[in-house]
């Protein structure tokens, strides 16, 4: 059981984890993960595994349990039942070791808003064990690439929502995590920055980082993700590549991910007409 003392992360995302028999360890391994809030079961005994280097899209309607699942995996919420591990480290028994592998862009940004962008990224790099000189170099590059250089020394409280998102992303990758959790990372971000972020994520993926990506922008998910998991009302309802899901959903070869998604969650589109607009 973790006692809060120092842990040292395994090195480099480009070396896949292996157990004592040399078998590949899943980057994320979830068994029976459950969370209840009062009477409501937000996540109901879900099982899935994400292999190292995968770019997984995690989709679901509002209130489906996406953010709760991510929050359990990154330590912000305690699961009621079930187990999960990140790169072989159990999120409860070896919680700090599991967190050494991850970077997180949460949906609610929760930044230290009275720090400047530069200070915040440096701070996160430091608590993940990046050396001072390396932090300085990486922070400078991240600010530059993400278009935050001119505002690097302004307090985050004075940033726009999009700037705060980019700052959160920079802080999530400054230590080159093995697993990156992104919860709505493109919300409020302009098209130019979105392109830059795509390239950054591509770079991380080529290095072997596993990306766990949740977004309502299905076009982006379809473009980036090698695999998609769909959750609805706390249960996994679909898991596979977009083509596999398309075939299973029988929505047709030309159907979009949105069509597949709506089919998977069993959503009936309400008639979007208002009588007083007719």
């Amino acid at each position: 059981m973790d006692d809060g003392r120092p842990v040292y992360a395994a090195s480099g995302p480009d070396r896949a984890g292996q157990d004592e028999r040399g078998r590949m360890t899943a980057a994320i391994d979830v068994h029976g993960l459950t969370k209840r809030f009062g009477e409501k079961t937000a996540v109901d005994a879900i099982d899935f595994a994400v292999q190292p280097g995968e770019f997984l899209g995690f989709l679901g309607p509002n209130g489906a349990g996406k953010s709760t699942t991510i929050n359990m995996l990154v330590g912000l919420v305690q699961p009621d039942k079930g187990t999960a591990s990140i790169c072989g480290d159990d999120i409860r028994a070896r919680s700090l070791a599991s967190r050494a592998h991850i970077g997180v862009v949460p949906e609610d940004l929760n930044l230290y808003t009275r720090l400047t962008g530069r200070e915040f990224i440096d701070f996160v790099g430091a608590i993940y064990g990046v050396s001072a000189s390396e932090r300085r170099r990486r922070t400078g590059e991240l600010l530059d690439v993400l278009g935050l250089a001119d505002d690097a020394d302004k307090m985050i409280i004075d940033y726009s929502h999009g700037m705060q998102k980019k700052t959160s992303l920079a802080a999530a990758i400054v230590h080159v995590p093995r697993v990156l959790f992104l919860d709505e990372p493109f919300e409020g971000v302009d098209a130019l920055s979105r392109r830059t972020i795509h390239e950054l994520l591509g770079q991380l993926r080529r290095r072997g980082t596993t990306i766990f990506f949740s977004s309502h922008i299905l076009e982006v998910v379809e473009k980036l993700c090698s695999r998609v998991i769909v959750i609805a009302e706390g249960n996994l309802v679909a898991d596979g590549t977009v083509d596999e899901l398309r075939a299973r959903a029988d929505t047709g070869e030309d159907s979009t991910l949105e069509d597949v998604f709506l089919s998977a969650v069993g959503a009936e589109t309400k008639d979007g007409k208002l009588s007083w607009l007719e």
């Binding site: 809060g4 919680s95 609610d108 009275r114 430091a126 993940y128 001072a132 300085r136 001119d150 004075d158």
Partner: protein, 513 residues
């Protein structure tokens, strides 16, 4: 809102009681002067309050309504109607009741009511005019920070007055008596020309039987009311037409980076945490206020205590300890509450959890040690017992460490949202228990927990004097260090299993933005 009503209500009743006493028990012309001063104070309070609370009270921010195609009439009715049922308006009722009770007899009461209605209209209009002129400021982050700091300073003034107690009141009476002539002249010949002063004058004259003069003053007040009303309507027209607020200050652009090389911020995780704590302490208004409150309150309390006690070696040993107790209880309360939702940054990291407490301790000592050193120098000078003062300083640091541990433990087991993480001024009822326990139990438990550190020192002082006592404070330091190492290790272990629950309690925050 409940808290505001309780606190504001208590203050208003006190003011009303004091006003009644001034109206009925003081010699002439104090009742007349008091009436004028109360009316003017009410008017000024509304102006200042609208400026200050407009930053936090959406109801005062007219700009929120301007996106809707409201006609001017609808806007006027909305804003005036909102004022009628505002808590601040209701809090004025006791004072108004006292005025009605004391001033005017028989039919004159009707005149007094009319004058009060004109006064109320002036007060509301003044607030609306100020809110309209300065609404551009309400969205300015620096302005909001300044308001928070000013509210805290005013609160400190109230505390200082309360602590000073009878001696302050006596002093105040002496000053008022000495300056009586000036005060009466200003109130009855200068302030009477202000809108609220004119209403007061009409009430005074009506009560004394000079109906004609009373009517003239009321007419004057009414003319001013019409002018104020026209100004307000012109302001509303300007706002509705997209003219914007008259006062707007853009947030400063901040330091531009343009090619300047970034400096290296040395150190690992612990140093980064300490650096973060110190930066937030300096930049976050609620934390600045908390620290300022701790320092000022402890200094005021020490000042009051020392005025009443002779400065012997025991006092030089004890005073720093007492001051640190107060400073730390205020400045270190609810550590996780003040972290708020931002603590998710390190929860999701492999940061050794003991570093959270180490950082709190070290950043606190960065402020506490210089504070105690200055204190020791002052006490050494005042007491003529430098060795005892030095011992007192060392003992204070040792006790401070132990007290911080108590506060850390309290925050770990009984977290509640900090002020920046609450949507109202008061904590929710679910957290009231935590607040009460921390407010009552911690001050009682702290002397007991730290007794092994301070008791030997005072015992030795009693038996062998200040030099031996000062030497014994080294034991206090050793004891504090041992306890610190053991306890922080345990707190760090415990935090891993509790942090998700703590986060869920303290996380509801967007008040900073």
């Amino acid at each position: 809102m409940v808290g505001m009503a309780v606190v504001g209500g208590a203050v208003t009743i006190l003011v009303a009681t004091g006003t009644y006493w001034a109206f009925t028990r003081t010699p002439a012309p104090w009742p007349d002067t008091t009436l004028t001063l109360v009316f003017v104070a009410l008017w000024l309070a509304w102006i200042v309050g609208s400026l200050g609370f407009g930053a936090f009270n959406e109801a005062l921010d007219v700009s929120r309504l301007l996106t809707y195609p409201l006609r001017r009439e609808a806007l006027v009715i909305t804003l005036i109607g909102g004022s009628i049922f505002d808590i601040a308006t209701l809090l004025v009722v006791p004072v108004v009741g006292v005025v009605l009770m004391v001033w005017g007899h028989g039919a004159q009461k009707l005149f007094v009511m009319l004058a009060l209605a004109v006064l109320w209209a002036h007060v509301v209009l003044a607030g609306q005019i100020v809110a309209g002129i300065f609404s551009g400021l309400f969205h300015n982050r620096r302005f909001r920070d300044l308001v928070m700091a000013m509210v805290a300073i005013v609160g400190l003034g109230g505390y200082a007055a309360y602590v000073a107690g009878g001696s302050w009141q006596q002093h105040a009476i002496e000053v008022l008596t000495a300056r009586a002539e000036v005060i009466h002249h200003v109130a009855n010949h200068v302030l009477c020309w202000t809108p609220p002063g004119a209403s007061a004058r009409s009430v005074i004259l009506a009560t004394s039987g000079s109906s004609g003069s009373a009517l003239a003053w009321l007419a004057y007040a009414t003319v001013l009311l019409v002018l104020a009303g026209r100004l307000w309507l012109a302001l509303l027209d300007r706002l509705c037409a997209g003219g914007g607020s008259l006062f707007r200050i853009a947030d400063a652009p901040g330091e531009r980076n343009a090619g300047k090389p970034a400096r290296v911020e040395p150190g690992g995780a612990l140093v980064a945490m300490v650096r973060k704590e110190l930066r937030l302490s300096v930049r976050t208004p609620v934390l600045q206020v908390r620290l300022l409150q701790g320092i000022v309150m402890s200094v005021v309390l020490a000042f009051i205590t020392l005025r009443k006690q002779s400065m012997d070696p025991s006092m030089a040993l004890m005073v720093p300890m007492g001051m640190m107790l107060l400073l730390t209880m205020i400045a270190q309360q609810n550590g996780f509450g003040y972290e708020g939702a931002s603590m998710s940054t390190w929860i999701t990291s492999p940061l050794p959890r003991a570093n959270v407490f180490h950082a709190w301790m070290l950043s606190h000592l960065v402020i506490a040690v210089p504070y105690v050193v200055v204190l020791a120098v002052v006490l050494a000078y005042l007491s003529g017992h430098p060795v005892a003062a030095l011992g007192g300083a060392v003992l204070a640091i040792a006790i401070d460490v132990l007290l911080c541990l108590v506060m850390f433990f309290a925050s770990l087991v009984l977290p509640f949202p900090g002020p920046q993480g609450r949507r109202s001024i008061q904590p929710k009822s679910a957290h009231t228990g935590a607040v009460l326990i921390i407010g009552l139990v911690v001050p009682l438990a702290s002397p007991l927990v730290s007794a092994p550190a301070w008791a030997p020192v005072f015992l030795v002082n009693w038996k062998w004097g200040e030099v031996a006592a000062a030497a014994t404070t080294l034991w206090s330091v050793v004891f504090a260090v041992i306890v610190y190492v053991v306890v922080v290790r345990a707190l760090g272990s415990s935090l891993v299993g509790r942090e998700a629950r703590i986060f869920s309690v303290v996380r509801h925050s967007h008040a900073e933005q």
